[in-house]
Each structure stands twice: as structure tokens, then as C-alpha cells.
Symmetry: D2
Subunit: 395 residues, 4 copies
């Protein structure tokens, strides 16, 4: 287990976090824990938690380990004890907060999806590129890149162990809105959530497959569906309102190396609780992953003789697996929340070393463009919708 | 174990089979075995095996248990000891043989896919409807309907155990042409095979999902790909020829009940040997099946309390599972070939009872139309391609 | 697929079978099928089926494919058209029939367990050794050696892929007598069955682990238990009788190479239908098998780097897997009954080549001695009970 | 997610921890985290960390979140800011420290196994009973009782869902000393470790099966083995020393309700990293658990109709699963370390409510007696060794 050095001379990194619901809780845990397990070049100071309701945010700050609380996020940007702003609000105000923070010279960690629209995401990517020139960094929080299993998958692809990629199949299946009486929460309203399953969970598989393959999506053909068109209001179950986002989205895609891909994101896959499943078939081997078994990676090495070839279940808990040098002995699995511990660790190290952290806001924009292309295709009879070349985005 | 009665009074069913390669071998096993395990109303007589090469077909007839052999399929149609013709040739001559047999008053069992084109399939369906008026029956051999596991899936859907279907995801993954030096066999040439993965294995998942859901596909949006465009000739590996069929096909679809579906058929999914995988999510439950574990069905009952709900692995080997009354004690799994034993059993019983067997040639035509729509969509930028209403086909 | 030659010159092997319930049905299928799939040096003639009730055995003979039937097994031994006697009766009369058949110069295939007692088994092994001198062969039917998966396991051990064996854990779990109202059938009476779970299913894991490891058991320490001591009579459920065999047996053992082993056989493992599970840990690797997934073998290669090591699931359906040259393409799984098809194939080939078939009656005796030692230990407070050196048995 | 109240009026619980290697790291994480996720009735104060080397323990204290450090554990017992002593040292000095702490009026949490010998464990249990009279509490850290999956298993047994228990099979398989060049670390020397696999990991499965079944073990019959008798010294690999503990232990056991059990603990099960596997078969159902998939529990309900019965894989991540009210949404798995977070949570709540926490030192003694009985049996030819009635231990 690596242990953090805490010599008096270690420089500090003051953090201010905006938002404190589900994502706020796991981010707080990550900020508290990273330095306990990993040797970090910066001392993390959890300076301030920001939320709308004074009493609630103060109480949350205490519980979650923040030194102070605030109700106006703009104030956070002016504090000397804040070097980095962690944006955990809903997508609809990511752009405003993140751009202001960057402009104020604060590093930014922004939860995914980067924004609710491509336009916002493009503005954010531009702000990030501008900020980078003065050493101010921006990162978007696609935490599933930070699982030992997915990072190992990336490493194996990078080492050429599966050869040229032929097929990608990716699903993110949940079931929590299967029941038609599930209420019309904010995640089901376009104005706040931007989109439904597509942006919330589809974004993860778009980013993750691009990360693991090291390629990007060049075009899509998609369909979306809202199975339950009206749902009871959260505040009054006798009243109904319109669901204005997709319940599910499916799309075909092509990767830059020529691979054929299928994607599916839904919250009505009964019995699948958090089944982010990825399978990648290459000329020399295959990889398969399921988030419901997050400490495992399946790997098929097609260069093995037929008689002994087979998908092997790698328990990704060995000391030489990604991130595992800091953790428990083999076979002692990690939990979901340490994707964020690793995210924070990587970010802090990159900040100290002056390396631009990934996924960058440009990476986040790329995901956003894929999601938008799916929506366009879905509204145009599934017609093939190519994605613009990345360079076209650059100013 | 049911035992077949073989009293002298049992009427007979004389069978003539055309073709004797892979499919011929499993069909022969089925014709030999059905009456050994199931109580059949007709005594099967394996009258004649037909193939092109006199010596080879005679030898095969002996090995496979046929009383005689012949080299001209038209002769088979004139024999008095042939009541049923079993067509096991490549798809390109299904139509000619099957229609002639029906016109000659012989029942027909035709291997899938029904034909290489919709036009041929339509002719065959018409011939079948005509023949049916005089009690002559036709059936297409989608054998995977006859697994205890898939038949149980159908039964559970029929009983309402999963409620309204929301999602279908179906894959048929093989890997035998991953190696680019795999030769240009007939399955890779359009003139004989009609299509590639799409027609060969995609046809199975189209039929099977329609069977299990009890619904039909109303439209598709597809892509196909030929990754390896030229391959060495089987007769001379130093020469190369063009692959003229798809290596892989993916498509989105909509079912008649509104479900969103993704389909994928490929022979380049490294490490997947025979992974016909189907998952169906309904409002009240889900089903999952993988042909690589053919004696199992996974079932999630969403009406269970959360605390004890989970996908259960049903070993489909109990006496009250479909077809299992004839077989071994619980837990003693069946093999692939008994899908055909069951197919023959169902067919013989239907013939004796005067019931039109399923899947009918019209069912086969429906599959063919889906495949054609996928190809059309793939050639038209993935554009949504609706399927004509079934009634439109009727004469 | 290999095809059987059937030239007129092929010598024949006439078979007579005694008994025709469950085992009779699978043996008949094997005798019918072996020559259809494998190229055999002898033409199998299914001459006669023998059973007690004239009408029933005649009907069974027709259904199962035997040319004639008989009610006195001694008559079978005198027939010229019988070269081999297949003994499928309950264990209590294996010895009498098998010894008489061998003395009459007939080859014998005897179902497992070889006998109900070590004394009987020893007599049988002696008779087999005597017969062997005149070229008459005997084999005991431990069919689970003939699965492609278990035969592959044996091959991998033999190739040194797992190194010195450290641990063997073997379970045979069924659940069909869990319900205390399950009737007192013959399998639950000592006079016919010899023992309960121990001899019926425990015998299989004793033989199979010795086969796969290539070692023998040198001592045991055991416990047995009869949970349900009285059960309703099959003929009158209002009357109860004593269960006189074990419901379950567990024992520790040592293998000749020093490995530590645990064994368990039970028919009250609720939900386990036919879970013959074996796991073997060696210095260089491990193997795991479960009969409920009979087409799979798990193999861990500990010489792999940690980062990519894991139990691989081998689908044992490739052409170069044991027995698979005769069967279907990769991924098309076999069923339980072909263990017997392979058993018959191996036996017929050994007979033609003049090779003593395995497992021999001496192998069967060895298993019987292990079972007896378990019973002795169980009756002596679990005390360690060494097994006599094999040579001590020889005359 | 529950949030901890932190009103000024919440009473505090000062904690001093002795030892800070592997167990110290996970315990520290638990003390830091419990109040962040669970609403606790006491405010945890991490007062002091105690270790032998001044500089190292001071650095560890900072990294792990302790306010101060100390090198003499006796000093810890005199501090006013310590209400509870957490003993994380090797087993050989558990007794001395724990008894002294209890006598000093400090609550004690003691890592497992309770002690290296039954005599020590008995003294500790006596001290705990004495202390309890004055409200001073003691608990032994069998953390695997605190997994949501094992706690759910206990709940299901308690609810009668599996009926009378017939079989228990428990394995704890690791492989880290398979390589004969693995050095002779302290865990392989009897004077420090007490025993090998038996006490280190065997203790866990003894406690856990007794916990889940709600029964106790009444006798055992065991074997132990040291496969690698000499190993290189950690300080000089050219020198070898004797391994003085077992590499592996297997034993048969009987539970108080009559169930038959098999146990196995080993560190040479190649490829098994942390396979604590438990399967329990009852008259009405079965349960199966594997620590390598710690967020899952398999449950078979035998009262289901055969047609739909099967082992269901419960993802134990629902809000109404044990401990899950505090964590993430369904399907977001927990990691190994939260067994300790839950342990601390339960302990703190019990302390506040004045309830004797479990497992008590008497529970720990019970486990120790089972381990000792296994060793006795192993040294006496596996002879059945009954366990004394619990009451016999009481003063």
C-alpha cells in the first residue's frame, strides 16, 4: 500500500465543490480518501462546499468533511483557499459555472455529461483551451475510465493484444423507471436533464468505448423511445406531466478504425441494475466487461491454441493492475466509489506535473457531439449521421 | 421417458432427404432418433437419401441410416415410399425443390433460410398455401425454436410473466472467418449463399425473437460490412477472389408491440463460437438465453420483492419443461442435435393431427423480408425501412 | 465429421444387453449411434435385449432398436450373435451376470458401480484378469471419463499443465430426495442398492478424480448420514419403511501424489440437479468442471503473468478436443448421452485393436474399495482408513 | 443516503488503535468513513495510533487520520480521550492487550482470530464477561458478517426461507504461497501466527457459517498439511527455515441442527485469490456466496414450481438490503473495506444503545475451540473430535 507523504513542504490544493447530492457524496469521499491511499504530490484541502439552502449545505459540509459552506457559487471562485472547482450540479448549469471558474483561474473538474448541448460543450472546450495556455486545467468526470478493469482493457488494447478492432457492443442497462408510476423527476424533463438515458448513461458508454479502443466514433444511426409518455408529478401523484426525454436510445456506429458498433442505453431493462456492458472483438482477441461485476475483466486471447483458448476471467485486483498498488491484497475487490478516488488521484498528479488531464473538455465535447448526432439521426428516420472531423472544431 | 408404440397398425411416414452435409447429418440423426424417444403417431421410414455423386451418397445413406440413395432429386418426388421431402441443400435451390415437391403432393421440411431472396420465398409461401388446401404441409427448419430453453421462454412470455416487451437485444456471434487467410468458401459467395452472416445466422435471431415475443418486426435500420474483402481460393491459396457477402450485419428494429431492438450477426467475434444470445426485457420481467449454454434460461421476475429478486438460472431439464418428458433426469443436459429431433417430432405429430406445422413458409418469408429490408437500409445510409403489412403479401 | 465405413468386409460385433430402464435407454442410444458418427472397425449388431417381463421387453426392444428380446439372461450368453454382454441391471446382480458372461467367452461392459461389495468386485476383477488371457475383455462404465471436457482435463494434467496436484475437491450434488415424502424406492434399500449417494454418485467422483489426476486415493476419513430415516412405501404411501442407505456421504482423502482432497455426495442439495463438480489445484495451474455445464472446462494457467491470468472458460467443442472430430462445428454443445456413445466407441476400437479397455474391472474394484473404506471410517468415528496397496489385490 | 447528524450535543467516542499494517489501514478507513455515510449516535474521535517505531507510527497517524501517535500501548489505556481500544496487532499479543484494556475500562474491538490458543481466548472471554457487568463492551472483528450479501443470507435463514439446514460446504481458497520460493514470513511461523491457513482464513469460514446458519459446530474430523516444508528466509533467500504452520486444512463437521459440513482452508489453490465460498442447502432452499463476487448472493427457492425454479443471482445493492440504505443506487457495488465500515457502525450503535455487540469474545472463543479441535483431530488420525458444550466454558 502506498502511503501519502505529508511533509510540511507539500504544496496544497484547495478545493471548492458546487453541488452535494449523489455525485457530491462520492466526490467528497474521493477528496477525503485519495491522499489516504495514494501518495499525492499535493495536499488536498477541502475548503468549501456550495449549495443553495444555507442550513442544508452547512450540515452536508460537516458530514462530508468540508471546512466551510457557501450558497453562492460565484463566491467560491473568488476564494484564495480554492485552487480547483469541482462542478457536481445538474448538466444545465455546467457551462456557466465551469467557464466562469476557468476564467477566474481555477482548475475545474466537471461532472459528465460535459453539458446539455453541443453549443455549451463547445464553449466549454474553448474556455478550457484558453485556460490551458496559462496552466489552468480542466477535466470532465467520466469516472468509468478509472476502474482497474477498464484501465486494464485500455492497456491490453494499447499493447496490441486484441489487434484491429472489428466489433464494439456496448450497453448501459438500468431499470429504475420501468414502473409507469415512477414519478416525473427532474431527470425526465428535458430542460434540466438535456436528454434521458442517452445523455445520462449513454454518455458513459460512448466515452468508455472510445477510451478503451483508442479510437473515435465517425458516424451513427439511431433511434430513441419514450415508452411511458406521462408520469405522476413528484409533488402530487394524482397529477400527470409529460416526459420530455428519451426512456431509451439505441444506435449503430462506426469507429475510426472501421469497427462496427451497437449501442444501447435504457432505464427500462428489468432486472439490470447497473449493467454497463462492453464487449470488443479484435482480430487477435476480445475483451468483455460488466459494471455489475466491476472487479473483473474477461479476455480472450485468440493466439492461444484452440484446445486451451477461452475467455478468461481476470480478477483485476493484482498489484500490477492499474491503481491496485494502493489497495488490498489480491481478490479483495474495490467498490464503485473508488472510480472517483482514482479520478481525483490522477487529476492531482497531473496538476502537479503540469500535464493536461484527460478526459479533457474536448473529449467531453466529442461525446456530446455523438449524443447530438444520435438525436439528429433518430429524428431523421435513422439516417446515417457522420460526425465532423475533430479539427473542424478547433478555433 | 416416453416410449414409442410401434404396433403394426401405426401408419408410416416415408421420408426422402435431399443433401447430406452438416445439415444432412443432423437431420438424419433426428429422423433416426425421434421415434426412439418420443411416442409418435407415424412410423418414420427413412426411404431415400439424394445427392449428386453416386458413390458418396450411397455410402452416406448407409452410414446415416437411409434405405436407398438416388442422384436426381426429381426422382425422389415420384416415389411412393416418400411422403415427405426434407430439403437440406444450400439456399439457392430451396425454392425449386420445395415447390416441385409440394406440387407433387409431398410434405416438405425445408432448411432455413427459406430462400436466398424474397421473391423466391414469396413463391414458396404461395405454393405452401396452395398445397395446404389439399392437406399437404410445409415447414421451415428454424430449429432453435425447439430448444427446451427457448420453448420455455416462449411459454413464459405467453403466460404474461414478463409483461409488455420493451427491449429485445439479439446477437449471433461466431468467429470462424476472423483469420483473413480463411478461404473463399461458398458461404462467402453471394450467388450460392445469398448473403453472409445476415442470412446464415442473422436469420435465426430474427425468427427466434419473433417466436419468443409472439410479435413481428415492423421496421429496421441496418448496416453491413465486409471486413476482409479478398480471400484465398479454396482450390488454390495463392490466388485470391472477392468476398461478395457481408461478414457482419447490425440493425436496429422495432417490434409490433413497440419494443426497441438491436440485432447483430457476425462471424468475426473472436472467442465467441456459437453465441446466439437473446435478452428480452418486459415490464414485469426479463429473459436471457445463450446458445453456448443451451440447457439454461435466465429469468428475472420483477414482481418479486427487491430483496430477493435476481436473474435465476433455470436448468431447463425438468420433466415439465418443453420436450423434457422424453429425456433424462434433471440436470442431464441435451445436445445441439436434439433441436432437430424435436423439430421432427413436432412435425410428425402435426402431420398426423392435420395441424399446419410452424414455422410455416409464410413465417420463413417474413424472416426473409426482414433480412432484405436490412440490406436495403444498409444500402440507403441506414434509413428506416418499414416492413410491409403481412396481409399485403397474401394473394 | 468422420463417417463410418460400412464395407461388407467389416467384421461385426454382436451385442446383447441385460436391463432396459434409464441406463438401458442411454446404452441403446449409444449402440445405435456410435457407428453413425465415428468410423468404427467393427459393425455393431444390436442382437438381443433381455428383461424379465416378456411383453415389456419385446416392446422396449423394438423402440430401442434391438433385433430380438429374451427373458432369461443366461440364454443371452449362449447366443452366437452375441459377442459382448452389456450389463445394465442394478448393482446387486452385476457380479453373477458379468462373471458368467466372461466365463462364457463374451466381452463385458458393466455399468457402474462395479458391484455392491468389495468381495463381489474382487471376484469380478479376478474373472476379468482370467478372461483377458484368452482375449476376452471387460470394462466398467464410468461414462464421465468420456466427456470432451473431462478427457481434456486428463490431457492437460498429463501434459504437465497444472504441475504437482495439491488439492482435489469433488462434489456430486443432486436434490431429488430432499422432500421427506419422496418414496422408499429400491435405491434407498441396502439390499438392492448396496449404498446410497455414496455408491450411486460418489463412485463417479472417486473414479473421475483418479482418472483426471492419474493418481489413486491412499486413504480416507468419512462421515455418512441418513437425514430422512423413514419414508412412505412406493406401493402404499400410508405405510412407512426404513431407509437403509446413506442420504449423503462426505470424506477427506489423500491422493498418491500427496494432494489433500474433500469429497461430498448427496441427494439433498436443494437446487443442485446434477452438479458433479471437480476442482483440482496444481502447482502450475488449476482445473474446474461442473456437469451442469458439461461442454465447458475452466483452466487457470499460473505461468501466465498476473496481469492477464484468470480462469478461462474453454468451450470444449473444437475439432482438436477429445471426441470432437466426429461432431458439430465449434460451440454446438453435446448432450449427456454421448458420454455413452464415446464409451462404446472407445470400447469397440479397443476390442478391434486387442487393447485392454479402461476403466478395467480392477479400476472398478479400486473405486469399490474406496467406497468401502469410507463406510468403515464412518462407522469408526471418522478414523483415517488407509487403502491397501493395489498389488495386494493381485492373485 | 443517510447523513450523520453532527450537532454539538452528540457524545463522542475516542478511539485508540494498536497496530497499523494491513488491518490498521482498513480499520482507519472505517473509523474515518462510518460517520460520513451512516447516522451515528456517537461522534468518532480518532485520538491515537500506537506502534513500535516512533517516526513510522507518527507518519502513519497523519496519513491514516489519527490525531496523535504513541509507541507504548499501555499508555493508550490511560488516556482520557480513548474510550475504545482497537487491537490490530498479530494474534500473539491480542490477549494481553485486550484484557488490559478491558480491565482499564476501555471498550475493545479485537481483530480475528481472537487469540492464538484456546487458553488465551478463554481468558479473554472471561475478561469480557466481567467487563460487561460494568458496561464495558468487547467485540471480535469477524468482518465478513458485515457484507450485505452475508447479512442477507443470515436474514433469509432466519426467515425460514431455506428450512432445516442439511449441508454446509465452506472453502477459503487463496494461492499466494503456492510458489515454493515464497519466503518464510511471520505468517508461516507458529510462534507468531499460531496456525497457518486454519487460523488465518479457516477462522473466517467457521465464524461465518455459524453466523449464517444460526447454529454451532458440534464436532470435527480434520486433516492438515504443510506441502512446502522449508522456505527461504525473508532476510536472506539463500538460507532456508522450517515452515511451522499448516499450508492447508480440511475438515468435516457437524452442525447443531444435524447438518453435514465440509470445510477447506488453503493458500495453495492456484488461481483462487480470495475465494471464501459458502454454500448452504436447506430443506426449502439453498444459498451460495463467493467473496470474489462480494456484491452477489445466490438463492434457490425450492418452493417455486420446477418450471421456473433456479438459483437466482441477487445483486445485494438494493436499498432494503442490509447496510445498503447508506450507500449508492442499485447495482453500484461496494468494496471489501466497507465490511469494516459496517463493523464500526454496528459497534458504535450497540455502544450507544447499551447492547452487547456481536460477535462477542465468547463467539471468538467458540471459533478458537473449533480450530483447536481440528488440530487435535488431525494429530489423532482424523478421529471425530466433539466440541464441549458451550455452557461448560462458563465460570
Amino acid at each position: 500500500m502506498a502511503t501519502a507523504s505529508s511533509a510540511a513542504s507539500t504544496p496544497t490544493l484547495g478545493v471548492g465543490m458546487i453541488g452535494y447530492s449523489f455525485m457530491g457524496a462520492v466526490h467528497s469521499h474521493a477528496w477525503r480518501s485519495a491522499g489516504r491511499f495514494f501518495s499525492l504530490p499535493l495536499d488536498i484541502r477541502m475548503s468549501v462546499l456550495c449549495g443553495r439552502t444555507p442550513e442544508a449545505v452547512a450540515s452536508a459540509a460537516t458530514t462530508m468533511g468540508w471546512s466551510s459552506s457557501q450558497t453562492d457559487w460565484r463566491e467560491v471562485l473568488t476564494r484564495d483557499d480554492v485552487d480547483l472547482v469541482d462542478v457536481c450540479t445538474p448538466g444545465s448549469n455546467h457551462a456557466e459555472i465551469a467557464i466562469a471558474a476557468l476564467n477566474a483561474g481555477k482548475h475545474v473538474l466537471c461532472e459528465k455529461p460535459l453539458a446539455n448541448t453541443v453549443d455549451e460543450a463547445r464553449e466549454m472546450a474553448r474556455a478550457a483551451r484558453r485556460a490551458e495556455r496559462s496552466g489552468v486545467r480542466a477535466m470532465v468526470g467520466f469516472n468509468y475510465r478509472r476502474l482497474p478493469a477498464t484501465a486494464l482493457a485500455r492497456r491490453l488494447v494499447d499493447q496490441g493484444r486484441i489487434g484491429a478492432v472489428r466489433h464494439v457492443r456496448a450497453q448501459y442497462l438500468q431499470d429504475f423507471i420501468t414502473d409507469p408510476t415512477f414519478p416525473l423527476v427532474w431527470r425526465l424533463r428535458k430542460e434540466q436533464a438535456g436528454s434521458g438515458a442517452l445523455g445520462d448513461i449513454g454518455a458513459h458508454i460512448v466515452d468508455l468505448t472510445q477510451f478503451v479502443t483508442g479510437e473515435h466514433i465517425t458516424g451513427v444511426s439511431g433511434m430513441t423511445e419514450t415508452f411511458v409518455e406521462r408520469r405522476p408529478l413528484p409533488e402530487d401523484a394524482t397529477e400527470y406531466g409529460d416526459v420530455t426525454v428519451d426512456d431509451a436510445a439505441t444506435f449503430l456506429a462506426r469507429f475510426s478504425g472501421g469497427a462496427l458498433a451497437t449501442f444501447e442505453a435504457t432505464r427500462l431493462a428489468t432486472g439490470r441494475k447497473n449493467a454497463l456492458r462492453i464487449e470488443i472483438n479484435g482480430e487477435l482477441g476480445s475483451l468483455a466487461f460488466d459494471l455489475e461485476r466491476l472487479n473483473e475483466l474477461e479476455f480472450h486471447d485468440a493466439t492461444e491454441p484452440d484446445a486451451t483458448a477461452g475467455f478468461r476471467r481476470i480478477l483485476v485486483t493484482e498489484a500490477d493492475h492499474p491503481y491496485m498498488e494502493a489497495w488490498w491484497p489480491p481478490g479483495h475487490g474495490l467498490g464503485y466509489e473508488h472510480t472517483f478516488t482514482h479520478e481525483v488521484t490522477d487529476l492531482v498528479r497531473d496538476l502537479a506535473e503540469g500535464v493536461p488531464p484527460r478526459p479533457s473538455f474536448s473529449d467531453g465535447l466529442r461525446v456530446q457531439r455523438v449524443l447530438e448526432a444520435v438525436e439528429h439521426s433518430a429524428h431523421d428516420s435513422g439516417r446515417w449521421t457522420p460526425l465532423p472531423d475533430d479539427d473542424a472544431e478547433e478555433p
